[in-house]
Protein backbone atom coordinates (compact mmCIF):
# COMPACT_ATOMS: atom_id res chain seq x y z
CA UNK A 1 0.00 0.00 0.00
CA UNK A 2 1.51 3.29 -1.07
CA UNK A 3 0.13 6.43 0.48
CA UNK A 4 0.52 9.91 -0.86
CA UNK A 5 1.16 12.55 1.76
CA UNK A 6 1.66 16.24 1.53
CA UNK A 7 3.91 18.02 3.96
CA UNK A 8 5.18 21.56 4.18
CA UNK A 9 8.91 21.05 4.41
CA UNK A 10 10.78 24.21 5.36
CA UNK A 11 8.00 26.32 3.92
CA UNK A 12 7.66 24.39 0.67
CA UNK A 13 4.82 22.05 -0.15
CA UNK A 14 6.11 18.57 -0.84
CA UNK A 15 4.25 15.47 -2.05
CA UNK A 16 5.71 12.14 -1.03
CA UNK A 17 4.82 8.51 -1.65
CA UNK A 18 5.24 6.65 1.61
CA UNK A 19 4.59 3.18 2.95
CA UNK A 20 2.20 2.55 5.84
CA UNK A 21 4.98 1.54 8.19
CA UNK A 22 7.66 3.87 6.89
CA UNK A 23 9.09 6.36 9.36
CA UNK A 24 9.02 10.08 8.76
CA UNK A 25 12.82 9.99 9.07
CA UNK A 26 13.08 7.65 6.13
CA UNK A 27 10.51 9.64 4.15
CA UNK A 28 12.52 12.81 4.73
CA UNK A 29 15.96 11.39 4.02
CA UNK A 30 15.14 8.96 1.23
CA UNK A 31 11.96 10.47 -0.19
CA UNK A 32 12.44 14.21 0.19
CA UNK A 33 16.27 13.94 0.09
CA UNK A 34 16.44 16.08 3.19
CA UNK A 35 19.86 14.68 4.11
CA UNK A 36 20.34 17.29 6.79
CA UNK A 37 18.10 15.10 8.93
CA UNK A 38 20.40 12.47 10.42
CA UNK A 39 19.81 8.97 11.73
CA UNK A 40 21.48 7.96 14.98
CA UNK A 41 19.51 4.97 16.22
CA UNK A 42 16.12 4.77 14.45
CA UNK A 43 14.70 4.00 17.86
CA UNK A 44 13.87 7.33 19.49
CA UNK A 45 16.74 7.07 21.95
CA UNK A 46 19.24 9.63 20.65
CA UNK A 47 17.36 12.62 19.22
CA UNK A 48 19.71 13.00 16.26
CA UNK A 49 16.75 12.84 13.83
CA UNK A 50 14.75 15.56 15.59
CA UNK A 51 12.60 17.77 13.39
CA UNK A 52 10.03 20.37 14.38
CA UNK A 53 6.59 19.09 13.39
CA UNK A 54 3.73 21.55 13.81
CA UNK A 55 5.77 23.44 16.37
CA UNK A 56 6.83 20.43 18.41
CA UNK A 57 10.23 18.80 18.43
CA UNK A 58 9.82 15.10 17.68
CA UNK A 59 12.02 12.14 16.86
CA UNK A 60 11.25 11.76 13.17
CA UNK A 61 12.21 8.09 13.43
CA UNK A 62 9.24 7.49 15.72
CA UNK A 63 6.65 9.21 13.55
CA UNK A 64 4.83 7.15 10.97
CA UNK A 65 5.27 8.90 7.64
CA UNK A 66 1.57 8.69 6.72
CA UNK A 67 0.65 10.30 10.01
CA UNK A 68 2.76 13.34 9.07
CA UNK A 69 0.34 14.13 6.25
CA UNK A 70 -0.68 17.77 6.38
CA UNK A 71 1.97 18.80 8.88
CA UNK A 72 4.54 21.54 8.75
CA UNK A 73 8.05 20.28 9.20
CA UNK A 74 11.19 22.27 9.87
CA UNK A 75 14.70 20.90 9.53
CA UNK A 76 18.05 22.65 9.97
CA UNK A 77 17.80 24.00 6.45
CA UNK A 78 14.54 25.71 7.33
CA UNK A 79 15.96 27.69 10.23
CA UNK A 80 18.26 30.08 8.46
CA UNK A 81 21.07 30.72 6.05
CA UNK A 82 24.64 31.84 6.51
CA UNK A 83 23.56 35.40 5.68
CA UNK A 84 20.50 35.18 7.84
CA UNK A 85 20.97 32.50 10.48
CA UNK A 86 18.59 31.91 13.35
CA UNK A 87 19.71 33.12 16.74
CA UNK A 88 20.11 29.51 17.80
CA UNK A 89 22.32 28.62 14.84
CA UNK A 90 24.50 31.63 15.49
CA UNK A 91 24.78 30.81 19.18
CA UNK A 92 25.78 27.20 18.46
CA UNK A 93 28.61 28.41 16.22
CA UNK A 94 29.84 31.17 18.49
CA UNK A 95 29.67 29.20 21.73
CA UNK A 96 31.65 26.26 20.34
CA UNK A 97 28.66 23.94 20.74
CA UNK A 98 29.48 22.02 17.58
CA UNK A 99 32.14 19.37 17.34
CA UNK A 100 31.45 16.46 15.00
CA UNK A 101 28.16 18.15 14.13
CA UNK A 102 26.15 14.98 13.78
CA UNK A 103 23.88 15.57 16.78
CA UNK A 104 23.73 19.25 15.87
CA UNK A 105 20.90 18.78 13.38
CA UNK A 106 18.57 17.47 16.05
CA UNK A 107 20.03 19.50 18.89
CA UNK A 108 19.45 22.90 17.27
CA UNK A 109 15.85 22.03 16.36
CA UNK A 110 15.09 20.71 19.83
CA UNK A 111 16.58 23.85 21.33
CA UNK A 112 14.61 26.07 18.96
CA UNK A 113 11.29 24.41 19.85
CA UNK A 114 12.22 24.46 23.52
CA UNK A 115 12.84 28.23 23.56
CA UNK A 116 9.54 28.81 21.78
CA UNK A 117 7.85 27.24 24.76
CA UNK A 118 10.13 28.57 27.44
CA UNK A 119 11.78 31.82 26.28
CA UNK A 120 13.70 32.52 29.48
CA UNK A 121 14.77 29.19 30.90
CA UNK A 122 17.15 28.49 33.74
CA UNK A 123 20.15 26.34 32.89
CA UNK A 124 18.54 23.42 34.71
CA UNK A 125 15.43 23.84 32.60
CA UNK A 126 17.59 23.82 29.49
CA UNK A 127 19.15 20.56 30.62
CA UNK A 128 15.69 19.10 31.25
CA UNK A 129 14.42 20.32 27.91
CA UNK A 130 17.35 18.88 25.98
CA UNK A 131 17.48 15.50 27.67
CA UNK A 132 16.27 13.64 24.60
CA UNK A 133 19.20 14.74 22.47
CA UNK A 134 22.42 12.86 23.03
CA UNK A 135 25.80 14.32 22.23
CA UNK A 136 28.98 12.32 22.64
CA UNK A 137 31.50 15.04 21.81
CA UNK A 138 30.82 18.15 23.86
CA UNK A 139 29.80 17.06 27.34
CA UNK A 140 26.83 19.41 26.75
CA UNK A 141 28.40 22.40 28.51
CA UNK A 142 28.75 24.53 25.40
CA UNK A 143 25.38 23.39 24.10
CA UNK A 144 23.74 24.68 27.27
CA UNK A 145 25.84 27.84 26.92
CA UNK A 146 24.56 28.30 23.37
CA UNK A 147 20.90 27.89 24.28
CA UNK A 148 21.32 30.16 27.26
CA UNK A 149 22.95 32.78 25.07
CA UNK A 150 20.31 32.48 22.32
CA UNK A 151 17.57 32.91 24.93
CA UNK A 152 19.20 36.04 26.31
CA UNK A 153 19.74 37.44 22.85
CA UNK A 154 16.13 36.87 21.87
CA UNK A 155 14.83 38.73 24.91
Amino acid sequence: MSIQIEITLNGKLKKLEVGPTQSLLSALRDGAKAKEVKDGCSDGDCGVCTVIMDGKAVNSCLVLAPSADGTEITTLKGLGTKENPSAMQEAFVNCGAIQCGYCTAGMVLSATAFLEKNPSPSRDEIREGMSGNLCRCTGYQKIVDAIDSAAKKQQ
Partner: protein
Amino acid sequence: MSEVKYFRPRSYSEFTDLLGQLPTGFKTVAGTTDFIPAARRGAPYPTALLDISKLNEFQEIKEEGGRILIGAAVTMADLLESDLIIEKCSVLASAAKSLGSPLTRNRATIGGNIANASPSADTAPVLLTLDADVHLISNDGLTRQVPLTSFFKGYKITERGNDEIITGFSFTTPQSGIWSRFAKVGQRSGAAISVANMSVIIDREDNICHDIAVAFGAVAPVPLRAVSVEKAAKGKPFDNQFITDCCEAVQADISPISDIRGSADYRRHVAANILARALTDAFA
Protein backbone atom coordinates in the same frame (compact mmCIF):
# COMPACT_ATOMS: atom_id res chain seq x y z
CA MET B 1 4.79 -5.34 5.18
CA SER B 2 3.64 -3.59 2.04
CA GLU B 3 0.22 -5.13 2.54
CA VAL B 4 -0.35 -3.25 5.79
CA LYS B 5 -3.38 -1.00 5.45
CA TYR B 6 -3.41 2.40 7.03
CA PHE B 7 -6.46 4.20 8.38
CA ARG B 8 -6.40 7.63 9.86
CA PRO B 9 -9.82 8.97 10.68
CA ARG B 10 -9.86 12.76 10.94
CA SER B 11 -13.16 13.06 12.73
CA TYR B 12 -15.14 11.03 15.19
CA SER B 13 -17.73 10.25 12.52
CA GLU B 14 -15.00 9.00 10.20
CA PHE B 15 -13.82 6.90 13.10
CA THR B 16 -17.23 5.39 13.82
CA ASP B 17 -17.73 4.77 10.11
CA LEU B 18 -14.56 2.72 10.13
CA LEU B 19 -15.78 0.52 12.94
CA GLY B 20 -16.89 -2.82 11.60
CA GLN B 21 -14.68 -2.36 8.58
CA LEU B 22 -11.34 -2.79 10.25
CA PRO B 23 -9.71 -6.04 9.22
CA THR B 24 -9.04 -8.69 11.83
CA GLY B 25 -5.61 -8.19 13.28
CA PHE B 26 -5.61 -4.41 13.03
CA LYS B 27 -3.60 -2.41 15.55
CA THR B 28 -4.43 0.95 17.02
CA VAL B 29 -1.53 3.42 17.04
CA ALA B 30 -1.10 7.06 17.97
CA GLY B 31 2.36 8.31 19.01
CA THR B 32 4.05 5.13 17.70
CA THR B 33 6.92 5.60 20.16
CA ASP B 34 6.55 1.95 21.21
CA PHE B 35 5.22 0.58 17.94
CA ILE B 36 8.13 1.55 15.69
CA PRO B 37 10.93 0.24 17.94
CA ALA B 38 8.97 -3.00 18.47
CA ALA B 39 8.51 -3.41 14.72
CA ARG B 40 12.24 -2.80 14.21
CA ARG B 41 12.92 -5.61 16.66
CA GLY B 42 10.85 -7.96 14.57
CA ALA B 43 7.38 -7.71 16.11
CA PRO B 44 5.04 -8.93 13.38
CA TYR B 45 3.27 -6.20 11.46
CA PRO B 46 -0.49 -6.00 11.93
CA THR B 47 -2.87 -6.31 8.99
CA ALA B 48 -3.80 -2.67 9.34
CA LEU B 49 -2.94 0.38 11.35
CA LEU B 50 -5.65 2.50 12.87
CA ASP B 51 -4.02 5.85 13.61
CA ILE B 52 -6.09 7.77 16.15
CA SER B 53 -3.57 10.56 16.65
CA LYS B 54 -5.61 13.10 14.68
CA LEU B 55 -8.90 12.61 16.49
CA ASN B 56 -9.76 15.64 18.59
CA GLU B 57 -12.18 13.60 20.68
CA PHE B 58 -9.30 11.41 21.84
CA GLN B 59 -7.07 14.34 22.65
CA GLU B 60 -9.26 15.95 25.27
CA ILE B 61 -8.58 16.36 28.94
CA LYS B 62 -11.69 17.48 30.80
CA GLU B 63 -13.60 17.30 34.03
CA GLU B 64 -17.23 16.29 34.01
CA GLY B 65 -19.45 15.45 36.95
CA GLY B 66 -16.64 15.11 39.43
CA ARG B 67 -14.62 12.87 37.11
CA ILE B 68 -11.59 13.63 35.05
CA LEU B 69 -11.65 12.25 31.51
CA ILE B 70 -8.51 11.81 29.46
CA GLY B 71 -8.58 10.77 25.82
CA ALA B 72 -6.42 7.89 24.67
CA ALA B 73 -4.39 10.07 22.28
CA VAL B 74 -3.49 12.63 24.95
CA THR B 75 0.30 12.89 24.97
CA MET B 76 2.59 13.08 27.96
CA ALA B 77 3.36 16.67 26.98
CA ASP B 78 -0.38 17.45 26.99
CA LEU B 79 -0.71 15.96 30.47
CA LEU B 80 2.18 17.74 32.06
CA GLU B 81 1.12 21.05 30.57
CA SER B 82 -2.57 20.69 31.39
CA ASP B 83 -3.74 23.18 34.03
CA LEU B 84 -6.50 20.81 35.04
CA ILE B 85 -4.06 17.94 35.63
CA ILE B 86 -1.47 20.14 37.33
CA GLU B 87 -4.08 21.61 39.64
CA LYS B 88 -6.21 18.59 40.45
CA CYS B 89 -4.00 15.61 39.82
CA SER B 90 -0.38 16.70 39.94
CA VAL B 91 0.78 13.16 40.57
CA LEU B 92 -0.20 12.27 37.01
CA ALA B 93 1.63 15.30 35.62
CA SER B 94 4.65 14.23 37.58
CA ALA B 95 4.56 10.72 36.08
CA ALA B 96 4.06 12.14 32.59
CA LYS B 97 7.05 14.41 33.06
CA SER B 98 9.24 11.50 34.05
CA LEU B 99 8.43 9.42 31.00
CA GLY B 100 11.05 9.30 28.27
CA SER B 101 12.45 12.55 26.94
CA PRO B 102 10.79 15.81 25.89
CA LEU B 103 10.90 14.48 22.33
CA THR B 104 9.10 11.25 23.12
CA ARG B 105 6.71 13.04 25.47
CA ASN B 106 5.53 15.10 22.51
CA ARG B 107 4.39 11.87 20.87
CA ALA B 108 3.83 9.17 23.49
CA THR B 109 0.20 8.86 24.51
CA ILE B 110 -1.48 7.71 27.67
CA GLY B 111 -3.47 5.19 25.64
CA GLY B 112 -0.32 3.62 24.30
CA ASN B 113 1.36 3.64 27.69
CA ILE B 114 -1.48 1.57 29.15
CA ALA B 115 -2.31 -0.52 26.07
CA ASN B 116 1.20 -1.92 25.78
CA ALA B 117 1.06 -2.96 29.42
CA SER B 118 4.77 -2.61 29.88
CA PRO B 119 5.54 -3.34 33.53
CA SER B 120 7.49 -0.09 33.69
CA ALA B 121 4.82 2.17 32.14
CA ASP B 122 5.07 5.37 34.16
CA THR B 123 1.43 6.44 34.03
CA ALA B 124 0.18 3.00 35.06
CA PRO B 125 0.84 3.17 38.82
CA VAL B 126 -0.72 6.61 38.96
CA LEU B 127 -3.87 5.57 37.14
CA LEU B 128 -4.03 2.49 39.35
CA THR B 129 -3.95 4.57 42.50
CA LEU B 130 -6.59 6.87 41.02
CA ASP B 131 -8.87 3.86 40.50
CA ALA B 132 -9.15 4.81 36.86
CA ASP B 133 -11.43 3.09 34.39
CA VAL B 134 -10.31 2.18 30.89
CA HIS B 135 -12.82 3.09 28.18
CA LEU B 136 -12.98 0.67 25.30
CA ILE B 137 -14.86 0.49 22.04
CA SER B 138 -14.86 -2.57 19.85
CA ASN B 139 -14.78 -2.90 16.09
CA ASP B 140 -18.50 -3.66 16.22
CA GLY B 141 -19.17 -0.43 18.08
CA LEU B 142 -19.79 -1.80 21.57
CA THR B 143 -18.37 0.22 24.42
CA ARG B 144 -17.41 -0.82 27.91
CA GLN B 145 -15.41 0.41 30.87
CA VAL B 146 -12.99 -1.74 32.77
CA PRO B 147 -11.33 -0.80 36.05
CA LEU B 148 -7.58 -0.51 35.44
CA THR B 149 -7.06 -2.68 38.53
CA SER B 150 -8.42 -5.62 36.56
CA PHE B 151 -7.06 -4.56 33.17
CA PHE B 152 -3.52 -5.93 33.37
CA LYS B 153 -3.74 -9.69 33.09
CA GLY B 154 -0.13 -10.76 32.78
CA TYR B 155 3.14 -9.70 31.24
CA LYS B 156 2.07 -7.44 28.36
CA ILE B 157 -1.39 -9.04 28.36
CA THR B 158 -4.49 -6.97 29.02
CA GLU B 159 -8.22 -7.29 29.26
CA ARG B 160 -8.57 -5.47 25.93
CA GLY B 161 -9.92 -7.69 23.17
CA ASN B 162 -8.05 -7.79 19.86
CA ASP B 163 -10.84 -5.86 18.19
CA GLU B 164 -11.08 -3.27 20.96
CA ILE B 165 -9.69 0.22 20.94
CA ILE B 166 -8.87 2.21 24.06
CA THR B 167 -10.67 5.52 23.75
CA GLY B 168 -9.71 7.05 27.06
CA PHE B 169 -9.60 6.91 30.83
CA SER B 170 -11.66 8.38 33.62
CA PHE B 171 -11.37 8.64 37.37
CA THR B 172 -12.94 10.50 40.24
CA THR B 173 -11.27 13.88 40.69
CA PRO B 174 -8.97 13.52 43.69
CA GLN B 175 -10.10 15.48 46.73
CA SER B 176 -8.11 18.53 47.50
CA GLY B 177 -5.88 18.08 50.51
CA ILE B 178 -4.79 14.56 49.78
CA TRP B 179 -1.05 13.89 49.64
CA SER B 180 0.38 12.26 46.57
CA ARG B 181 3.70 11.37 45.04
CA PHE B 182 5.03 9.69 41.96
CA ALA B 183 8.52 8.30 42.47
CA LYS B 184 10.76 6.75 39.90
CA VAL B 185 14.07 4.98 40.03
CA GLY B 186 15.99 4.87 36.78
CA GLN B 187 19.51 4.07 35.68
CA ARG B 188 20.20 7.67 34.79
CA SER B 189 18.58 11.08 35.29
CA GLY B 190 17.53 11.95 31.76
CA ALA B 191 15.30 9.90 29.47
CA ALA B 192 15.22 7.03 31.91
CA ILE B 193 13.16 3.87 31.83
CA SER B 194 11.89 2.88 35.25
CA VAL B 195 13.72 0.21 37.19
CA ALA B 196 10.97 0.76 39.74
CA ASN B 197 8.24 3.34 39.97
CA MET B 198 5.53 4.07 42.46
CA SER B 199 2.46 6.19 42.96
CA VAL B 200 1.14 6.94 46.44
CA ILE B 201 -2.05 8.80 47.35
CA ILE B 202 -2.73 9.32 51.02
CA ASP B 203 -5.65 10.81 52.83
CA ARG B 204 -4.25 11.60 56.25
CA GLU B 205 -5.20 13.73 59.17
CA ASP B 206 -2.90 14.50 62.05
CA ASN B 207 -1.01 11.31 62.46
CA ILE B 208 -3.54 8.88 61.06
CA CYS B 209 -3.56 7.31 57.65
CA HIS B 210 -7.26 7.33 56.81
CA ASP B 211 -6.96 6.03 53.33
CA ILE B 212 -4.10 5.08 51.08
CA ALA B 213 -3.59 3.88 47.57
CA VAL B 214 -0.17 2.59 46.54
CA ALA B 215 0.87 1.13 43.21
CA PHE B 216 4.19 0.00 41.78
CA GLY B 217 5.59 -0.57 38.35
CA ALA B 218 8.56 -2.55 37.04
CA VAL B 219 8.62 -4.79 40.09
CA ALA B 220 6.20 -7.45 38.85
CA PRO B 221 4.99 -8.77 35.49
CA VAL B 222 2.36 -6.03 35.53
CA PRO B 223 1.96 -2.66 37.23
CA LEU B 224 0.01 -3.40 40.40
CA ARG B 225 -1.69 -2.03 43.47
CA ALA B 226 0.21 -2.83 46.65
CA VAL B 227 -2.75 -4.28 48.48
CA SER B 228 -0.74 -5.59 51.44
CA VAL B 229 0.80 -2.19 51.99
CA GLU B 230 -2.59 -0.54 51.81
CA LYS B 231 -4.00 -3.06 54.31
CA ALA B 232 -1.06 -2.54 56.65
CA ALA B 233 -1.40 1.24 56.50
CA LYS B 234 -5.09 1.98 56.42
CA GLY B 235 -6.37 3.46 59.64
CA LYS B 236 -3.01 3.21 61.36
CA PRO B 237 -1.11 5.96 63.11
CA PHE B 238 2.18 7.00 61.59
CA ASP B 239 5.21 5.90 63.54
CA ASN B 240 8.32 3.79 63.03
CA GLN B 241 6.29 0.61 63.29
CA PHE B 242 4.02 1.92 60.55
CA ILE B 243 6.99 2.31 58.20
CA THR B 244 8.39 -1.09 59.12
CA ASP B 245 5.04 -2.78 58.55
CA CYS B 246 4.50 -1.11 55.20
CA CYS B 247 8.01 -1.94 54.00
CA GLU B 248 7.57 -5.55 55.03
CA ALA B 249 4.18 -5.69 53.36
CA VAL B 250 5.50 -4.37 50.07
CA GLN B 251 7.74 -7.41 49.71
CA ALA B 252 4.62 -9.58 49.59
CA ASP B 253 3.05 -7.40 46.94
CA ILE B 254 5.90 -7.35 44.47
CA SER B 255 7.62 -10.13 42.55
CA PRO B 256 10.48 -8.48 40.69
CA ILE B 257 12.76 -10.21 38.27
CA SER B 258 16.36 -9.51 37.37
CA ASP B 259 16.79 -8.05 33.93
CA ILE B 260 19.06 -5.80 31.90
CA ARG B 261 18.06 -2.76 33.97
CA GLY B 262 18.40 -4.11 37.47
CA SER B 263 18.37 -7.11 39.75
CA ALA B 264 15.35 -8.39 41.64
CA ASP B 265 17.22 -7.70 44.85
CA TYR B 266 17.82 -4.06 43.92
CA ARG B 267 14.19 -3.62 42.98
CA ARG B 268 13.06 -5.04 46.34
CA HIS B 269 15.39 -2.66 48.16
CA VAL B 270 14.40 0.47 46.30
CA ALA B 271 10.68 -0.33 46.34
CA ALA B 272 10.81 -0.43 50.13
CA ASN B 273 13.05 2.63 50.34
CA ILE B 274 11.00 4.89 48.09
CA LEU B 275 7.83 3.79 49.89
CA ALA B 276 9.36 4.54 53.29
CA ARG B 277 10.56 7.91 52.04
CA ALA B 278 7.13 8.79 50.69
CA LEU B 279 5.36 7.79 53.88
CA THR B 280 7.84 9.72 56.01
CA ASP B 281 7.43 12.82 53.86
CA ALA B 282 3.64 12.48 53.78
CA PHE B 283 3.45 12.66 57.56
CA ALA B 284 6.27 15.14 58.03
